[in-house]
């Protein structure tokens, strides 16, 4: 669906992207995982034609570069910053953004109503956005990305600073978009979110792709061993193992076991393994 090839981008002395290549398959949720400053937003900006790469190429669905307006029209973006007009109502915001896509009035109205219902804002549709909570704004921000029914949706840190209820709603919506056949590119620095949601993940740092694959592949190959902790009267025993279930089976048969704890490797461990740093450093 989206192919980014050998992208390079510098801002002065800062290298934002360093030969970054990605292929986002159609119909999946693709997670772009990395710490702040890793190059996620720069990647998104180049992917939708907001920024021109210093070198490299972007191809959307075989149509070419999104620098062309017709190609860009196939992409919906929910920017990291809530990109809405506070002094307009939710409906007015959606109507305005829909007009940018030359949608007829009736279609605009119908689409706005459907999306407001989908993000749970129908009852606040005619309130000005400045009265909304952070989570409500995030949901509306997402709705605005879907107005023109794009096959590719880019969600840039869509759950930053939202309450758990809105976060769950946004994650559910991302899944439903995939279920509708759309491709979702999802950037986040919340590893558990990527782990829960994404079909494929690319871990990037300092503008380079460190690893790419399914969560299971990455964790299985780069996350290291699981840790089984056996608690007995003599104290705790930590055992690193690739087969935590088998290890548990053997250890639980021994006398004096008061409890067990199993820590499976996750994307945080993968990132730590790849960079020597925590994702949140």
């Amino acid at each position: 669906m989206l192919r980014l090839s050998n992208l390079r981008k510098r801002f002065g002395q800062v290298v934002a992207l360093d030969d970054l290549s990605l292929h986002i398959p159609r119909g999946c949720i693709f997670g772009l995982l990395g710490p702040n400053g890793a190059g996620k937003t720069t990647t998104i900006s180049i992917a939708v034609g907001l920024l021109a790469p210093d070198s490299g190429a972007v191809d959307l669905d075989g149509l070419g570069t999104p620098a062309r307006a017709q190609v860009r029209a196939r992409v919906g973006v929910a920017p990291q910053a809530v990109a809405l007009y506070d002094d307009l109502t939710a409906r007015e915001n959606l109507d305005f953004f829909a007009r940018l896509y030359e949608m007829p009035r009736a279609a605009r109205r119908e689409r706005a109503d459907a999306l407001l219902a989908r993000v749970g804002l129908s009852d606040r549709a005619d309130d000005r956005v400045k009265g909304y909570s952070g989570g409500m704004k995030r949901r509306l921000n997402l709705a605005a990305a879907l107005l023109h029914d794009p096959p590719l949706v880019l969600l840039d840190e869509p759950t930053a600073g939202v309450d758990p209820q809105s976060r769950n709603a946004i994650l559910d919506m991302a899944r439903s978009l995939r279920d509708e056949g759309r491709t979702v590119m999802y950037t986040t620095h919340y590893m558990e979110e990527a782990q829960r949601l994404c079909d494929r993940v690319a871990i990037i740092d300092r503008g380079r792709v460190l690893a790419e694959g399914t969560v299971e592949q990455l964790v299985g190959t780069l996350g290291g061993s699981s840790v089984v902790t056996i608690q007995t009267d003599e104290g705790d025993t930590r055992i690193e193992t690739a087969d935590p279930v088998g290890e548990l089976g053997r250890r639980l048969a021994a006398p004096g076991v008061r409890g067990v704890r199993v820590e499976r490797p996750d994307l945080e461990a993968v990132f730590l393994h790849l960079t020597g740093r925590s994702l949140r450093d």
Partner: protein, 432 residues
């Protein structure tokens, strides 16, 4: 095009919902125009609060005509300029320096001395035909003073007796009076003299006035009006004609600044990303902003001038010329808006820089204090200020009486400054 209009409409809607922005774009300029209009009322510009400025021209040059001119000079309703020739007074009315002229025609004194027969005192008013109400008012004032003069004469029996005797002498010498009328007038004057003698002896002046008033068909004064079409004078017709163009400038400054800040906000708040992701070119986005700014600045200017016309009697010398001035000024401020938006990184910077630059331009361009009161070097410096040219163009349509030819220079400068600022701003404006 639809997208450009959508951006323009959205920005206008946002501006109308921003109470502070709306205040500075409309109400503040209106307050400035009204406040200074009231402050300057009566001082210069035709003196809206100090009587009707008229000339009194005495073509009779008699004691009676001089006395009447003096009476008009003392009238509170009038602000009299004396000593002009008839041609001079006519020109003063024509160029709008005076609202009208009162001409005491030859024979005025003689008619004043024989108020009961022959030609009445003849007075001609020279008034611009577009000022019908003023003509009526002036005629009323002049007629009242003429009758008051006669009334004073009737109120003084001794003075009246002298007048009667003088009238009798004039009648006896007047060969034009029909011979058949002479006995009747002789009888009338003798009877009147006897009555006045009695009144004088008894001190009853009212009886004399009542007796004179009974003379039927009596017309001691005849006031005629002659049209003198005023042409634009280059001077404001009232103080609001001077202050409303300045108010328009302030309104345009407020609008330009408001739009510049909204453009900066588009960038800082991320909505510009949405505009850029939509299938629009950079030119569409900038054009949408420009159209919105142009519509709002023009609307504010038109609204202020309509208020000036309806509520404060400001009559533009040429509506088409004024419309051209407003359009060119709006275009100039659109360019300034674009440049301000391009060089401002944050909203606070936009506000601070915007007001700083615009106030400086207003200061040296006559937007705060009229350039006439400025030192020479400021007047020289003012040529770089679009405020100066905008003010000149607006005044050209409001009271300076500019033709389209005379408007060419200020309009060309405004469009030049606006175009250059827009081009530079569009080039510098970061959309990423």
């Amino acid at each position: 095009m639809n997208a450009v209009l959508a951006i323009a409409v959205k920005d206008i809607r946002l501006l109308l919902r921003d109470r502070m922005g709306f205040f500075f774009s409309f109400f503040f300029p209106l307050l400035i125009a009204v406040f200074f209009g009231v402050v300057f009322r009566g001082g210069g510009g035709g003196g809206a609060g100090s009587g009707i400025p008229v000339a009194v021209v005495d073509l009779d040059n008699t004691a009676e005509s001089a006395a009447f001119a003096g009476r008009l000079g003392a009238a509170s309703e009038l602000e009299v300029t004396a000593g002009l020739t008839r041609e001079g007074a006519e020109e003063a009315v024509r160029i709008g320096r005076l609202r009208g002229a009162v001409v005491l025609l030859p024979g005025f004194g003689e008619a004043r001395r024989r108020p009961f027969w022959g030609e009445p005192m003849r007075i001609e008013l020279l008034v611009d035909p577009s000022r019908a109400a003023l003509a009526s008012m002036l005629e009323g004032v002049v007629t009242r003073h003429a009758f008051e003069g006669l009334s004073e004469m009737f109120a003084d029996p001794a003075k009246m007796r002298g007048q009667v005797r003088e009238s009798m002498d004039l009648m006896r010498r007047d060969g034009s009076l029909p011979r058949t009328m002479r006995p009747a007038f002789e009888l009338f004057f003798n009877a009147l003299d006897s009555m006045l003698e009695t009144v004088e002896a008894n001190g009853d002046a009212d009886a004399a006035t009542a007796g004179a008033a009974r003379a039927g068909g009596w017309q001691p004064v005849r006031v005629s009006t002659r049209a003198v079409t005023a042409r634009p004078s280059g001077l404001p017709t009232n103080s609001f004609a001077l202050t409303f163009p300045q108010g328009v400038i302030w309104g345009m400054m407020g609008c330009a600044l408001g739009f510049a800040v909204t453009m900066v906000m588009e960038r800082t708040r991320g909505t510009l990303v949405r505009l850029r992701v939509a299938p629009l070119s950079r030119a569409h986005v900038l054009a949408g902003k420009a159209v919105g700014c142009f519509v709002v600045t023009t609307s504010v200017a038109v609204l202020l001038m309509v208020i000036a016309r309806v509520a404060f009697g400001v009559q533009p010398t040429s509506v088409p010329v004024l419309a051209a001035a407003i359009a060119c000024s709006s275009a100039c401020f659109v360019g300034i808006m674009m440049l301000l938006a391009a060089v401002s990184r944050t909203e606070a910077a936009g506000n601070g820089l915007g007001w700083g630059v615009l106030l400086l331009l207003a200061m040296i361009g006559g937007g705060m204090v009229p350039l006439e009161f400025m030192p020479g070097f400021i007047k020289t410096l003012s040529v770089v200020s679009p405020i100066r040219w905008s003010l000149l163009a607006l005044e050209g349509g409001v009271f300076r009486g500019f033709s389209f030819g005379q408007m060419a220079a200020p309009c060309a400068v405004l469009l030049g400054i606006g175009g250059a600022a827009f081009a530079l701003g569009a080039r510098l404006f970061r959309v990423d």
